[in-house]
């Protein structure tokens, strides 16, 4: 029978949002992927296993917290080179990374010196990772009904039909 859809209240959804535009995110994406790896992967694992956004609000909050911390660290140490980098990216609508290699190198060196972060090489962010969580694996995430019982095994002697196939014109 149809039941009510449970929704969380507005207070539970209140989180410190990252108020930042797309060029900034793309500029910081590679470092963000390697630094905030753990909470990101946990959130995605939760989302994909539970298939329900209401169950993953906690992990989502941790993702946001890590992102805020990440941007705060950048703002604290490498603000100028980062600003130059993302303004260069923002210049075009396609935000091609290959147009801004000089600024990228400057930003990478600054971040490596001050914070010790290494930019991940090509292909490292797309590697499949294993995530350890304390959350148990949900059973029946699709809330499917009980499966019907399988058919019983046919008893008796099985012989081919007497006059050939009753379905079509061939005789086997």
């Amino acid at each position: 029978m149809p039941s009510t859809v449970e929704l969380p209240g507005l207070d539970e959804l209140k989180v410190e949002e990252v108020q930042v535009s797309s060029a900034v995110l793309k500029a910081a994406a590679h470092h963000y992927g390697s630094q905030c790896d753990k909470p990101n992967k946990e959130f995605m694992l939760c989302r994909w296993e539970e298939k329900d956004p209401r169950k993953c609000l906690e992990e989502g909050k941790q993702v946001n917290a890590c992102a805020m911390n990440f941007f705060r660290q950048i703002k604290g140490s490498c603000a100028e080179s980062f600003t130059e980098y993302w303004t260069c990216l923002d210049y075009s609508s396609t935000a091609e990374l290959r147009r801004c290699r000089k600024q990228q190198e400057k930003f990478d060196n600054c971040v490596l010196d001050k914070l010790g972060w290494q930019r991940p090489d090509l292909g490292e962010l797309s590697k499949v990772t294993k995530v350890t969580t304390s959350r148990p694996l949900p059973e029946n995430p699709y809330h499917s009904r009980e499966r019907p019982e399988p058919n019983k095994i046919t008893e008796g002697k099985l012989v081919p039909s007497k006059h050939g196939s009753a379905v079509f014109f061939w005789n086997w």
């Binding site: 149809p2 009510t4 959804l13 793309k26 990374l97 809330h143």
Partner: protein, 173 residues
């Protein structure tokens, strides 16, 4: 008339410089030397080049084919190299998207849930006096999370927001 016959035919074969003079033998002498005419240079014209002149020059056919083929091969090599570089750049772009996806997904989830919550509260206000209406009732027979349609989410909002959600990425409509 007898004067004509006395002029020998061989005189016609003489050089053209004296042709006019020899033609006038016996006739009244014209004042030819006094009139300024456009005459050929003294000594006549030089030898005229009339024989076939098709010099053998330039590359042979084979070498021209070879050069063309070489240029093509060089072009292909450059193309393949640049395509590999483009593949690497594409992987870099995809990795940037991969890295940002959890953040964007979390924000999207929160936004959806917020809109649904606001819709629920609006529904409670609007359908307060309708008999037999269960507020927040699911239209499906299941308990699982059904991804809400954009129509359902933006029902109570101006149409512009719905259009922006559905068509915002397009350049044309």
């Amino acid at each position: 008339m007898s004067l004509w016959r006395s002029c020998p035919v061989a005189l016609i074969a003489e050089s053209s410089a004296q042709l006019t003079l020899s033609f006038c033998c016996g006739l009244k002498k014209m004042a030819a030397s006094k009139v300024k005419q456009d005459m050929p240079p003294p000594g006549g014209y030089g030898p005229v080049d009339y024989k076939r002149n098709l010099p053998k020059r330039g590359l042979s056919g084979y070498s021209m084919f070879g050069i063309g083929l070489g240029v093509m091969v060089f072009g292909y090599w450059r193309l393949f190299k640049w395509n590999r570089e483009r593949r690497r750049l594409q992987i870099e772009d995809f990795e940037a998207r991969l890295a940002l996806m959890p953040l964007l997904q979390a924000e999207h989830d929160r936004r959806t849930l917020r809109i649904m919550r606001e819709n629920l509260e609006e529904e409670a206000i609007l359908m307060k006096d309708v008999p037999g209406w269960k507020i927040g009732e699911s239209v499906y027979n299941t308990d699982r999370w059904v991804i809400p349609t954009s129509d359902e989410l933006f029902n109570l909002r101006p149409r512009e927001e719905l259009l922006h959600t559905n068509l915002g990425f397009r350049w044309y409509v």
